[in-house]
């Protein structure tokens, strides 16, 4: 079982923060995992191979969509078991399963603005958990945009919030047609994270 940090103890306060967050519902949980859990998690991730991925929207390294080691599969199961009930209570979202991949953003890597919303994929909540890095990154912030939608198209996009990839920080946000966000280019160092989505 993955041990969560004390930051989760006050769920009503987290729920209030979720509802108040702008430009769209999101949650920032610092100290998301207990210290010993972070060390265990790092050891598991360190054994998983990563591959380069590049398209018009992104350039980064990531593990395969499906973990190759039993340890990472077990970690994913523990992650889901620990977080799903809490996030369901805090956000009010009906979630039941999740996926998980590890990401490494090195200098020059980025993920350009997109919403995560795709018809048929049923992504409800997106998350990113930032791991301690041997070379803490400069850049690599998560940037959220305020959007206006008309006729199913974004017609206004404005930067609205910037979240630094601080170690042991979990960011969760609601996925929708206007949940526009990006990972800013990493300029130095390495940004290490776990990320994925929660589904019904």
């Amino acid at each position: 079982m993955l041990r969560l940090g004390a930051a989760w103890d006050d769920e009503p306060a987290l729920a209030t923060a979720w509802r108040a967050a702008r430009p769209f519902p999101h949650l920032i949980v610092d100290g998301a995992l207990a210290d010993d859990a972070v060390a265990e998690l790092l050891a598991v991730v360190d054994e998983e191979p990563v591959w380069p991925y590049e398209a018009d929207l992104f350039a980064f390294e990531a593990t395969a969509p499906e973990p190759t080691t039993a340890e990472l599969r077990a970690l994913r199961a523990a992650w889901i078991a620990a977080l799903t009930p809490r996030l369901a209570r805090i956000t009010g979202a009906a979630i039941g399963r999740a996926d998980l991949r590890a990401y490494a953003y090195r200098p020059g890597h980025y993920l350009l603005p997109h919403t995560d919303h795709q018809a048929g994929l049923d992504r409800v909540l997106a998350y990113a958990y930032y791991l301690p890095s041997p070379a803490p990154p400069r850049g690599g912030e998560l940037e959220l945009y305020r959007c206006e939608v008309a006729a199913d198209e974004l017609v206004v996009t404005e930067p609205a919030a910037v979240i630094a990839p601080a170690p042991n920080r979990l960011v969760v946000f609601a996925v929708g047609t206007a949940s526009l966000h990006q990972v800013r280019e990493v300029l130095d160092g390495v940004r290490l994270s776990l990320a994925g989505w929660f589904y019904p």
Binding site: D56, P107, L112, T115, L154, T157
Partner: protein, 182 residues
Amino acid sequence: MTDLGELFTARAALVVPAAIGAAAAAEARARLARRGYARYALVDRGSYDVVAEPDEAALCAALAALAADRLRPTPTAPRPTLAVVDARALRLGPGDFVLAHHDRVHEDRLLELVLDLSAAPVAGAEVHYRRGGQLYHRVAAAPGALSIVERDGGVTCHHTYVSRRQPDAVVRLVLRLRALAA
């Protein structure tokens, strides 16, 4: 009007180096700057400066003639007449990009020319053409170079992200050409 397939035996995708000299490129950049760039910032599609009507008729005609020469199947074949459908100038600075789903759809076949008017090479700033998702023509940053690509509905294009780790902007004149009957 003639279909491009009647003129060229294979679908073209090539780069002509040094299609324009540094001095002429600098003059073109200055003219475009005077004409004035508009900022495009719907960032789910792109982030760049654009001159939608660059008013570069002489330069466009010269590029069309150059493309017609390069695309003749044999040196002695008659040179086709290529008409400019439209043109625009793009300037991508650090942090800028144009995503593939912001690309104009081309249901019919035409030629797309991209002239690199940049003052200096911008590392990693490229134009990528894909067919069926597969990258088949990569246009590296090379001031003065002209890319010539035959396009149809199966081709997508994007301008890659320009890194913030370098200070320069890339300037591109983008033309679409159609073949006219002789």
